[in-house]
Subunit: 282 residues, 2 copies
DNA sequence: CATGAGCGATACCGTGGGGGTATCGGTGCC
DNA sequence: GGCACCGATACCCCCACGGTATCGCTCATG
């Protein structure tokens, strides 16, 4: 099976529409139809159920969608990491670390400092990405190692080391009645009509319905909090980035957040090993 | 990057010889040379160092070999599992379990029996393979779940659950001086000139040099033990398969062997989940 | 019930790239 | 110095992939 066939199938399986999938792939619809039916013939199984009005996945199609995404990620990872290893000779950074923007920033700084002090360290490129994107970067090879946060991020499929565990705090506008409390419970925060929870865009870029404001970035969110439009619950370490007008109150029954360093289990990079070593020593 | 290119590169990187690699791939040498240099041009990095007398891997080439093998396994896994999911509708077994031939046979029997008794169980195909082959079957999708033995098998990259831990015993021919001992240490077993350790074929099918007999199978090995030509150290549970003429003596300082059930971390198969569930309940 | 819109499949054609053979060019060995 | 070995190059062929045009089926609509 060629990656081209896999890319085509994944596109159709995601769109459930040959025309749109073809458009996304930048080809015409007929060759796409042919490629899929040829793939089905070669596999000897039906992947899609076609009616003139709709396309649905068969069981085999659902399996191929899952496994195919993982396979395409693995191919992309091979390409990314090989290219990076080649450019490393030209002085480019040889290792990429992915971290959530605005999270664990102190820990991250200490980690990079500690690693840079090691004798055989190499330049590290840090990619700050949106929440939940680190795992994707790690899977398709755009990154070699990542800082994740359980239970928010899915660590399955990676090797990990725990670095720190912390509680969570609610960030509230100064002056709000709740902001004077010594601590809070999650039940205090749901159904606060004047501070509805914010809504983040989904993977497809659209927003779910709800009363809360639509947000795209941490900065924007904190500004909305200080304007008294919403509230947010964040790990304790994020306190250091709060400016005036924002009050942090511990939420005693919020799940503990564990910061972990994660890397692909088959990684043999000495730089990744060095970073992990420096991290566990912190 | 197409899987064809990856297959070609992996062949050359493993053979370090364009002619042999081409032969292995069933194509002529010139198109292979072109494909590799085209791949290097597209990646923008050198993968191989060529001299008229030898071919060696660059750093980038070594990375691509590693990551590329994983990627090819992932593609093969997608293909195998999709095909199996399709054929499951036709009454074929929907899930394949890989286990080492002759190991943990009682536990395996109990597991299969317990799972078959569950309400939503499906037929399970059991593949008995040689030592260390289970992980490969799991990686390229020929199997969905496997029974492995730490520390012999490498479990990295899989999710696992421990099932049992046991000590190891030395299997000796009846009548040998050591066979009357209540227990042994590893140091008693190295350098027993009349019972040199057996030699298994490597991944390439060849044998390392040494005094011990060359063996291919467990049966053959045990027969050689009873003939007084070699000795072997195996997990305690293998005792049940020893026939007359063979004596098992505990080796007190041999590493403990843990039987684990392993599956790909991203597996969403209900059958795999059911097998794992049945296994941990044993 | 007829018509048209939407969508995937089919028919047919052109071209680019992957594969083949023949040969070259460079290197080390007898 | 000639030869053997090995990867690269030159040249050719063919097919598989992609494009355009069109068909066939189904359902919504008046």
């Amino acid at each position: 099976m060629e990656t081209r066939e896999l890319r085509y199938f994944v596109a159709v399986a995601e769109e459930l529409h040959f025309g749109r999938a073809a458009q996304r792939l930048g080809i015409a619809q007929p060759p796409l139809s042919r490629a899929i039916s040829q793939l089905e013939r070669r596999l000897g199984v039906a992947l899609l159920e076609r009616t003139p009005r709709s396309v649905t996945l068969t069981d085999a199609g659902a399996v191929l969608l899952h496994e195919g995404r993982a396979a395409l990620d693995a191919v992309a990872a091979a390409e990314h990491r090989a290219r990076r290893a080649g450019l490393a000779a030209a002085g480019e950074p040889a290792v990429v670390l992915a971290a959530k923007a605005g999270a664990s920033s102190e820990l991250l700084a200490k980690l990079l400092h500690a690693y840079a002090a090691e004798p055989d360290s190499v330049p590290v490129e840090v990619v700050l990405c949106g929440p939940g994107e680190q795992a994707g970067l790690l899977r398709d090879g755009r990154a070699d190692v990542a800082v994740l946060h359980r239970p928010f991020d899915d660590t399955s499929g990676f090797d990990t080391e725990d670095l720190a565990t912390e509680g969570q705090v609610a960030v509230l506008p100064a002056g709000h009645p709740l902001s004077t409390r010594a601590d809070l419970r999650l039940s205090d925060l749901t159904d606060v009509p004047e501070l509805p929870l914010p809504r983040w865009p989904g993977p497809d870029g659209t927003y779910a319905d709800g009363p809360g404001p639509e947000v795209q970035s941490q900065t924007q969110l904190l500004q909305l909090v200080s304007l008294g439009r919403t509230l947010v619950v964040v790990p304790d370490s994020a306190r250091s980035q709060l400016h005036d007008g924002l009050i942090a109150v511990p939420v005693v029954d919020a799940p503990a957040v564990t910061t972990v360093i994660a890397w692909p289990p088959h990684s043999r990079s000495r730089a990744v090993a060095g970073l992990v070593n420096a991290a566990v020593r912190l």
